[in-house]
């Protein structure tokens, strides 16, 4: 049985993420300039957007891991799929919470059914549904198989959701403010926040997948103990 304790790589990565978070906070709150019209409110952008992009990366990991599980049938791919879905849902929860916090003062409403908001919410629901499927299948082999199929369905669905909502809503103007490109002075803070979010995601996925591996090993041990008893 493989040792699944925290290796040197994870320890270094974890320390880098911790240091990066402090740096990201410093950049976002003290270095980045104040936005002209929105003021300090705009600073939530340094957490909202990187969380969204990183969440999408996590869902892409989930898809790749699910396909790999169906091809290779190795438990570690299933553990990776579970870990990336959980972390992706967490990141999208951050997106869905920080969004309304920003929207209330900026748009004067908590929520509007504009394309981006609606598709983010549906995407979040798809992966919560994925976790539900996992939650309600007891047999590990069957759980891995069912959830891998659902993961592929969810990933194929995401672009169709996006297009149908965008086309459908185009007929009704949405109150979304279309801003120009990001000011050059804001780029360093944004890039660092983005990088830290990606590293955090990778760190969490690795730790979560390792935990799932331990749980799997424990299950195997319990089962073999039952057989010999």
């Amino acid at each position: 049985m493989k040792d699944r304790g925290e290796g040197t790589f994870d320890a270094v990565l974890g320390a880098a993420v911790a240091a990066g978070m402090v740096l990201a906070l410093y950049m976002a709150f003290l270095v980045a300039p104040r936005e002209r019209t929105m003021g300090d409110l705009q600073r939530i952008f340094y957490f909202h957007v990187p969380a969204g992009i990183t969440g999408l990366t996590a869902f892409a990991f989930n898809f790749v891991a699910s396909v790999m599980f169906l091809v290779r049938r190795k438990h570690r791919w299933d553990a990776l799929a579970l870990a990336s879905a959980e972390v992706g849902v967490m990141l999208f929860s951050i997106v869905l919470v920080t969004g309304p916090i920003w929207a209330k003062p900026a748009w004067f409403v908590w929520w509007t059914w504009s394309p981006r908001l609606t598709s983010s919410l549906v995407l979040w629901m798809l992966y919560v549904a994925y976790l539900l499927v996992r939650n309600y299948v007891s047999d590990p082999e069957r759980r891995a198989q069912m959830s891998a199929v659902f993961a592929i369905v969810a990933f194929a669905d995401a672009p169709i959701v996006w297009f149908s909502i965008r086309w459908w809503r185009d007929q009704h103007p949405s109150p979304m403010l279309e801003t120009g490109g990001l000011s050059p002075a804001m780029w360093p803070a944004f890039a660092i926040c983005w990088a830290v979010f990606q590293l955090l995601m990778i760190y969490l996925v690795r730790r979560r997948a390792a935990l799932e591996g331990v749980r799997h090993d424990l299950d195997e041990l319990m089962r073999s103990a039952e057989r010999s008893a």
Partner: protein, 224 residues
């Protein structure tokens, strides 16, 4: 060859349904209940009820369809019928297509009844619109059952069974619901039907993508 096998699976489900009428009774009655509930819920917008009808229709269709999809595998779990089904020497995709065809037919039948009742309850008159509505109902229903049949098999494998299906199905069929409601609204409330192309295209793409995926992956979810 393959068509004959699909037909055999379909015919089996159809015969069972014609003899027991388990699914259709439940689907039809639930559709009626949903319509009546909506009638009370929409009391405040009585004057502009016509605008709400597409949404009401598709919610009723989706709820009735979910009931039908649940039965389509729950019925196989009784008396170990699933084992018999799995012993048929055919590709699992064939079983999927047969089941999907059955689910589609049950859903379309209940949609027909629910639609006529909607006309009565909401005082609508349609003639010219009927062929277009039939087209939208058919495409939307095929899209719904294409992925619904696969997910019903997934749900049948879980501890929650019937409870889980709507939870995992509705987020996935969001594109079908959006475009079907949109298309139905275009037909009922506007005169220019050329804009129907867009929602119909998305629904068709959805149906093709998910019937292909389900055909390919059905063997992974159909287990005893």
């Amino acid at each position: 060859m393959m068509l004959g096998k699909i037909w055999a699976v379909f015919r089996k489900d159809l015969l069972i349904e014609l003899r027991t009428k388990d699914s259709l009774n439940a689907m039809l009655f639930f559709g009626v209940v949903v319509l009546v509930v909506f009638n009370f819920a929409l009391e405040a917008v009585r004057d502009s009820i016509r605008a709400a009808v597409p949404g009401v229709l598709w919610v009723a269709f989706a709820f009735a369809g979910t009931l039908g999809l649940n039965r389509i595998f729950a019925a196989e779990k009784d008396n170990n019928c699933l084992q018999g089904l799995l012993m048929i020497p055919v590709d699992r995709g064939v079983i999927y297509l047969g089941k999907m065809l059955a689910a589609t037919v049950f859903m379309l039948v209940s949609e027909g009844v629910i639609f006529v009742l909607t006309l009565v309850f909401f005082n609508l008159t349609v003639w010219r619109e009927v062929p277009y509505l039939v087209l939208v109902f058919c495409v939307g229903t095929v899209g719904f059952t294409a992925v619904g049949t696969l997910l019903a098999a997934v749900a049948a494998n879980t501890r929650m069974r019937e409870v889980l299906l709507p939870l995992i199905l509705f987020p996935v069929v969001v594109p079908i619901l959006i475009n079907a409601v949109e298309a139905t609204a275009i037909i009922l409330n506007t005169v220019d039907y050329r804009v129907l192309r867009q929602p119909l295209t998305i629904m068709t793409v959805f149906a093709i993508v998910f019937s292909t995926l389900s055909y390919l992956f059905f063997e992974y979810v159909l287990e005893e």
